[in-house]
């Protein structure tokens, strides 16, 4: 990630907010100065080497650094990991996501992992073990004292419930299974010896290795170059996949569901301290060191965002179907944006995320969801099922040349027609059959009872059909949330879809900033490409002054851009053309930078408020005040304190909203 000044400031402030001043200071200097060694840092910061070493250790523990040890002279150079630093703003979201999509206990483990940074599994287990022991000891004590505490003189179990309502990790076995699930979901990754090398260093190492191994005579010719690049990409992929070693091992042991059945209640097996290859049990290798995998977390956050978007655009039930589809589809997807050096090279066929069949979605839908809701009720003859069920086998191509695109479109339309008609007739037959059957008592017992009970319930039976309707609705939408890529097979083209969403988000910003006319002009430009001012007036049917004013306004805001094209070699300014155009990428980066600045302001304001309310905050932090604030603090102080808390909350909420925006434009 390239860092702007605002981005750098934001990263430093975030680290300051969470990890304290010392690491933040070092990080800021690293950002300003780039790759530096310890002596250099001493010079830059005028801090003592001891302070620096402590700060660097903290930064590294939280994966905020890249470092590289030179094998020749043993010199270590450090580099800031800005992605992870920015991700600190997303902690709340990730925790909430884990909490709702996995379980509260998974959230607890995730939070511990985030708190302690990179952690050896055995340490984590020991920490939880001591906490559990502690809790049970307390419970025992409480039990002994039961008479004195009337409200708690229940059994041991009761006390546990009262005492730890939210940690909910109460055995080592449970911890292990939670960890396994996190590893399976790829939300947790293994640290290997190249994790802390910066991407450039990894590339350098891999290239060197490849050269030594395969190209001793050097890379020659175009063919050799391609081969070299492929080999490098292979090497990079290997390095990247190393972080999934735990997951692979888990997968070797069979499916998750099976294993969970087998080992439920069995504690963490302590005996397998040897090697991961040898042990055949689900206990994770305690020697491995793990941390949060932010890339996968981002994929999950993107799924939630898309769900939200569909819920807004179409409806709750459809969005729910979409969420299930996305969940199935992104199981294997490791990151939102593919790495151009690694992923794109390996050929087009591997980029796709695969597909999901209707049956798979149906299996994963909760039975409590009434699919009949949120669907229009049109009679069969009013729907052109042929048009609705068109199958698009290939992802939409980018419109580079208009002529070419048109040809493509024609060709694919033909194919689709053939295939569509073939599969669709069978489909519709099946649907009719289902509909016809549902009234007659042929299905299994319970269903028939429902059908008898009420005519309205009849519709609930046709779940596959309704599911299909929802999916078709998604596929038909202008945003193309889903692509119908084969009979009963569905996929999502993330790149164009996210592009559309980006555009929509930009549009709403433009509309807020420069009103409807501004948005109209931008859309015109997007549609027509580059336009001269005069032709823009003509196309937009607006007066010259208005157009000029709006365009200038938008240019200062960074929504439209101008290009100067000289008429002849002399490049006379008076004679050259000035073309307006609109570059989404450019405006997006501009907006992202502005958002960074706003986030920085939020955090700075928070600091100012803290300074204003210093006395109250100091008071609440005192050890004698903690726990009995009501007795000690006056009403006035209480009011100030609660107001501060409210403001703090609002400010962080604002930061997170801005992050929503930034992640859509930058990361998704």
């Amino acid at each position: 990630m390239l860092v702007t000044q605002n981005g750098a400031e934001l990263c430093a402030l975030l680290i300051d907010e969470i990890y304290g001043e010392l690491p933040s200071r070092i990080f800021a200097v690293l950002l300003n100065r780039g790759r530096s060694s310890l002596p250099q840092l001493v010079q830059y910061t005028s801090m003592s080497p001891r302070q620096l070493r402590h700060g660097l250790a903290v930064l590294n523990q939280h994966s905020l650094l890249y470092f590289d040890v030179n094998s020749d002279n043993g010199m270590t150079v450090y580099e800031p990991n800005t992605d992870n630093a920015y991700n600190l703003a997303r902690i709340g979201k990730v925790l909430e996501m884990v909490d709702t999509s996995l379980s509260p206990s998974a959230k607890d483990v995730m939070q511990s992992l985030l708190l302690s940074g990179q952690t050896r599994i055995s340490d984590l287990v020991a920490a939880y073990q001591s906490k559990i022991d502690h809790a049970s000891n307390v419970a025992k004590l409480v039990k002994d004292e039961g008479d004195d505490w009337p409200e708690l003189n229940g059994t041991n179990g009761d006390v546990q419930v009262v005492k730890m309502p939210d940690t909910s990790i109460n055995s080592a076995g449970q911890l292990n299974s939670v960890l396994c699930r996190l590893v399976e979901a790829e939300l947790v990754e293994v640290i290997h010896k190249k994790t802390f090398l910066s991407p450039q260093d990894i590339l350098r190492d891999v290239e060197k290795e490849t050269l030594d191994k395969y190209f001793l005579a050097g890379v020659k010719g175009g063919k050799g170059k391609i081969e070299f690049q492929e080999k490098v990409a292979d090497g990079l992929r290997k390095v990247r996949d190393e972080s999934k070693s735990l997951k692979r091992k888990l997968e070797q042991n069979g499916t998750a569901a099976k294993r969970r059945k087998l080992f439920s209640g069995v504690g963490m097996s302590n005996g397998n301290g040897t090697h991961e290859e040898e042990s055949g049990d689900p206990g994770l290798d305690p020697k491995q060191v793990i941390r949060i995998n932010w890339e996968k977390c981002l994929v999950e956050l993107r799924n939630r965002r898309l769900y939200q978007f569909v819920a807004d655009m179409i409806g709750e039930n459809t969005a729910y179907v979409y969420a299930v589809l996305l969940k199935l589809l992104t199981k294997r997807l490791a990151r939102c944006r593919l790495d151009p050096t690694i992923d794109i090279k390996e050929g087009e066929e591997d980029i796709g995320v695969g597909f999901v069949t209707t049956d798979e979605i149906l299996d994963n839908l909760k039975t409590g969801i009434d699919l009949s809701l949120g669907l229009g009720k049109a009679t069969k003859d009013k729907i052109s099922s042929k048009a609705a069920e068109v199958i698009h086998e290939h992802p939409p191509k980018k419109k580079l040349f208009i002529a070419e695109a048109e040809v493509d479109g024609d060709a694919s339309a033909d194919e689709e027609d053939e295939e569509g008609s073939g599969s669709e007739s069978g489909e519709s037959d099946a649907e009719y059959e289902v509909r016809g059957r549902s009234s007659a008592p042929v299905g299994n017992g319970t269903k028939v009872k429902f059908a008898d009970a009420a005519a309205g319930k009849e519709q609930r039976l046709d779940r596959p059909g309704q599911l299909r309707q929802h999916l078709l609705l998604l596929a038909e939408s202008t945003q193309h949330f889903v692509r119908h890529c084969g009979p009963d097979e569905w996929t999502v083209d993330f790149v164009p879809l996210m592009h559309t969403l980006c555009e929509a988000e930009l549009d709403s910003v433009i509309e807020q900033r420069s009103g409807k006319p501004g948005l109209r002009l931008v859309r015109l430009l997007r549609d027509k490409g580059k336009l001269d001012e005069k032709s823009l007036q003509n196309v937009a049917l607006m007066r010259k002054a208005e157009v000029q004013q709006k365009m200038l306004e938008m240019q200062t805001a960074g929504f439209v851009h101008i290009q100067e094209v000289p008429r002849d070699n002399k490049a006379d300014v008076k004679k050259s053309f000035f073309l307006w155009f609109c570059d989404i990428e450019k405006s997006a980066t501009h907006l992202v930078d502005t958002s960074y600045r706003t986030m920085v302001r939020c955090l700075q304001i928070l600091e100012v408020i803290r300074q204003q309310e210093k006395d109250v905050l100091m008071l609440t932090k005192r050890t004698d005040v903690k726990g009995r604030e009501k007795d000690v603090m006056r009403k006035e102080y209480y009011d100030r304190y609660s107001r501060f808390r409210e403001n703090e909350k609002k400010l962080f909420a604002q930061v997170m909203r801005l992050d929503d925006f930034v992640s859509l434009l930058r990361d998704f």
Binding site: I18, H134, V162, I191, R628, E648, A653
Partner: protein, 291 residues
């Protein structure tokens, strides 16, 4: 008539003919109200701060609220952990401009809070300072285990806690290091802190019991650490009995602990020995003064 070119009206007509004193004369027949006697001139200056519709952020949705509180809870836990450095060496003065030119000026901002820069009027040790949290300037690295193979070799000594603290720094007996999980399990809002009495009694006792247990366990290990919360509490209590003006406070403290016979005070009442007490408060200058 207007001074300089400030008003838009002054420059019109024959205006611009300035006298020696800088005033500008306007020909009496050139002003509009001269030609049109019915004209009412609104001579009020334009408002400096006209009413402006400040955009208001929408209220937090349920989900956002949850996210923010998770974030805040995480932050609290982080601040509670051993790797957080509380000390602010930068005394922020928001009245001064924050712009800096170059690294030197940035560096100069830090390291401002030291013994030399304390405000002499506020730095007189007071009783209440006993209760303020001791600030940590360097992270407490030796208290927890690290996966050392993933750190550069030059940091390994630091991770062990052997990083030149001088002879003054006490070496901790090297036992098995454990990763501590934070005890803060929920974020308390202001309302929760102040309002519910009943809840406090219920869980407060348990918390206290847990604290006691922690102290007990540590004692059993033979560790004598001045930072243990239990001991501090004892210390507070011992001291408080002598403090006249805080008598009421301390009474309440006693009342609290009187509800149950299992808490820190009760446990250590008989056990407390003077050595221990001295060690607990010895490092604190304020304590000595107060005594």
């Amino acid at each position: 008539m207007s001074r300089g070119g400030g008003g838009g009206r002054g420059g019109r007509g024959r205006g611009g003919a300035t006298f020696g004193n800088g005033k500008r004369a306007v020909a009496s027949n050139s002003v509009p109200w001269n030609a049109d006697p019915d004209l009412v001139v609104d001579g009020k200056p334009s408002e400096l701060f006209p009413p402006y519709d400040v955009p208001q952020a929408p209220h937090l949705s349920k989900k956002e609220d949850k996210q923010v509180s998770f974030f805040l809870l995480f932050r609290e836990q982080c601040h509670d952990g051993p790797l957080y450095t509380q000390a602010r060496s930068w005394t922020q003065d928001f009245s001064k401009p924050r712009r800096t030119y170059g690294q030197d000026q940035i560096n100069k901002r830090y390291g401002q809070t030291s013994k030399a820069t304390v405000d002499p009027f506020l730095a007189v040790p007071t009783y209440a300072q006993k209760f303020t949290q001791s600030e940590r300037t360097l992270p407490d690295l030796e208290s927890r285990p690290f996966a050392k193979e993933f750190f550069p070799p030059e940091l390994h000594a630091t991770l062990d806690g052997d990083d030149g603290g001088g002879p003054a720094s006490k070496r901790r007996k090297t036992g098995p290091k454990t990763l501590g999980l934070s005890n803060i399990t929920q974020l308390k809002t202001a309302e929760e802190l102040f309002l519910p009495e009943g809840m406090e009694n219920g869980s407060g006792n348990l918390d206290k019991a847990m604290e006691v247990l922690a102290t007990m366990e540590k004692r059993e290990d033979g560790e004598e650490d001045g930072f243990l919360s239990g001991e501090e509490d004892d210390w507070v209590k011992e001291n408080g009995e002598e403090g006249e003006d805080n008598a009421e406070d301390e009474d309440q403290y006693d009342d609290d602990s009187g509800d149950d016979d299992y808490n820190a005070e009760a446990y250590f009442e008989g056990n407390q020995d003077e050595d221990d007490y001295d060690e607990g408060g010895g490092g604190d200058d304020g304590g000595a003064d107060y005594m």
